[in-house]
């Protein structure tokens, strides 16, 4: 696979991993496509150890774990899809893996337009709202005029 393809795939997989609970399966179900596939690895819930760095930039340390659900499948065409999602929703992991696989087929454009783009817009909108609320709490310092001048 070309490197630019990797970057593209990295972007969509990262996006799906962060989808709100239940959203991936809802979005994909709305496409009314149910491609046949075989499991390479059925959905499993597990954890990953999240690391931080001492002083934000120094040596790594183990901060604590987070829950992850992952799976891998193969379409009838032989295309392999991997799903990684935060949390414990197996249906979302399956939808992410199917989307990952379909994005490597000639259905990519439709999937991008109807699943990935709307999901990206939703996540961005939530983030933008919170960023605007944070911006509204930014302190504007001003100096009081002194009496003697």
């Amino acid at each position: 696979m070309q490197n630019t393809d990797n970057i593209d795939r990295q972007t969509w997989m990262s996006l799906m991993a962060k989808a709100p609970d239940g959203r991936m399966s809802t979005l994909l179900a709305a496409q009314k496509i149910a491609p046949k596939f075989d499991w390479l690895r059925p959905p499993e819930v597990g954890s990953v150890m999240v690391r931080g760095r001492a002083g934000a930039t120094g040596a790594p340390f183990n901060l604590g774990e987070m829950t992850i659900t992952r799976c891998s499948l193969k379409l009838e065409s032989g295309t392999v899809g991997h799903g990684y999602v935060q949390g414990r929703n197996k249906a979302d992991a399956q939808a992410a893996a199917l989307t990952d696989a379909l994005m490597q087929t000639d259905q990519a454009e439709a999937i991008r337009n109807q699943v990935l783009t709307p999901l990206g817009d939703e996540i961005k909108s939530t983030k933008d709202t919170r960023a605007r609320k944070a911006a509204a709490t930014k302190v504007e310092f001003f100096t009081m005029a002194r009496g003697e001048d």
């Binding site: 690391r51 001492a54 987070m66 991997h82 960023a131 944070a134 302190v139």
Partner: protein, 362 residues
């Protein structure tokens, strides 16, 4: 000494049935949902995730419901659940410089790039009970303003430019993991930070406060405190590249302390570091102070015998699950132990001639 005894099964079953009934409370009042706990008791949910050492707000909320709001019991449930999960791997260290900050303040610089962003804070509230909350009200909405979308640089970077602050050079050694290997001393800083990140908030606060009051004086300033979301990246072997596997809210605190200098280091500011899951401000400031106090040896400072300088004391007593496990076990049957103690005290009394002494009360 432990001896297997039988009996009490029915009493235990009935006790648990009553526990379930009490948990539900008055059935005339609507049942609390896990979603409600997750979205309305978020700070408590964050504490359960931080000290349970597992980031999953739904599970933390469920644990709180099950534990009737006993947070240490909820943390216990999360720790127990965590051990059942297969671990898929370790993430790359999170990049807090890329945090989408919802709160970011500095007590050391007034005007700093990115500004002082208060976020949803209790600071500056009057701490007066708000009786309006006792009645159901219309939802309030927070004002919004145009956001710049720029990344917010760390405060320590400014001090670094003048060479006034100790640097934290990048390093990629694999950190020890106390969930895999028992915590042993001497504990390097990475291990101490892991233990502190999951340590009891109250214990960490007390330790930090003791350093402020003079037990191992570390006069700390909050150089920076930031709360927000960071992406969690992990290398995926089957893909051959890294993807973001999720996004978490964390609180990061960097404290700066004046440092007189040592034989090898000039006078400068040194740093303490706190990083905690969720919006956990008090805990992250506390962690930062305790981290700094525990660095006395590496910085060539005197050990003045303060509790917060004692790594063994701090690290072996800060875990509330270990602590409560040992503490609460003494309420379980110890009939045989006590029987032997009883025999011993009787024997000692006989030897001391106590049985012949007139009773004081008589």
């Amino acid at each position: 000494m432990y001896v297997a005894v039988k009996g009490g099964e029915r009493a235990i079953e009935n006790a648990h049935a009553w526990l379930a009934e009490e948990r539900r409370g008055d059935v005339a009042i609507a049942e609390l949902s896990v979603e409600q706990i997750k979205s309305q008791l978020t700070i408590a949910v964050n504490r359960v995730m931080a000290e349970g050492s597992l980031y999953d707000p739904d599970l933390a909320a469920l644990a709180m419901k099950q534990s009737r709001g006993d947070l240490i019991e909820a943390i216990f449930l999360i720790r127990a659940y965590r051990t059942t999960l297969p671990r898929f791997g370790n993430t790359r260290p999170i990049e807090t410089s890329e945090m989408e900050c919802e709160r970011r303040i500095s007590a050391t610089y007034k005007d700093l790039p990115g500004g002082q962003v208060l976020g949803p804070t209790f600071d500056y509230t009057h701490r007066l009970l708000d009786f309006k909350l006792a009645a159901e009200g219309a939802p309030t909405s927070a004002p919004e303003r145009k956001a710049s979308g720029d990344l917010v640089p760390h405060v320590a970077e400014f001090l670094n430019q003048e060479g006034l602050i100790e640097e934290a050079p990048r390093d990629d050694t694999t950190p020890p993991d106390l969930t895999r290997e028992p915590l042993e001393l001497p504990a390097e800083r990475a291990l101490r930070l892991q233990a502190l990140a999951r340590a009891d908030e109250g214990f960490t606060l007390g330790m930090a406060y003791s350093t402020q009051r003079g037990y191992g004086r570390t006069h700390a300033f909050v150089g920076e405190l930031r709360i927000g979301q960071v992406a969690v990246e992990m290398d995926i072997p089957e893909l051959g590249f890294a993807i973001e596997v999720g996004e978490i809210t964390v609180t990061e605190c960097e404290t700066v302390n004046q440092f007189k200098g040592s034989k090898s280091e000039p006078p400068q500011f040194t740093r303490g570091y706190g990083l905690v899951f969720g919006q956990s401000e008090r805990k992250s400031i506390s962690m930062s102070l305790v981290d700094r106090a525990l660095r006395w040896e590496e910085l060539g400072e005197d050990n003045v015998g303060a509790p917060a300088q004692d790594a063994e004391f701090v690290l072996y007593h800060g875990d509330n699950i270990q602590a409560t496990g040992f503490l609460e076990h003494i309420k379980l049957p110890h009939y045989v132990d006590f029987q032997s103690e009883l025999e011993l005290v009787r024997k000692m009394r006989r030897e001391a001639g106590a049985d012949q002494m007139p009773e004081a009360a008589e």
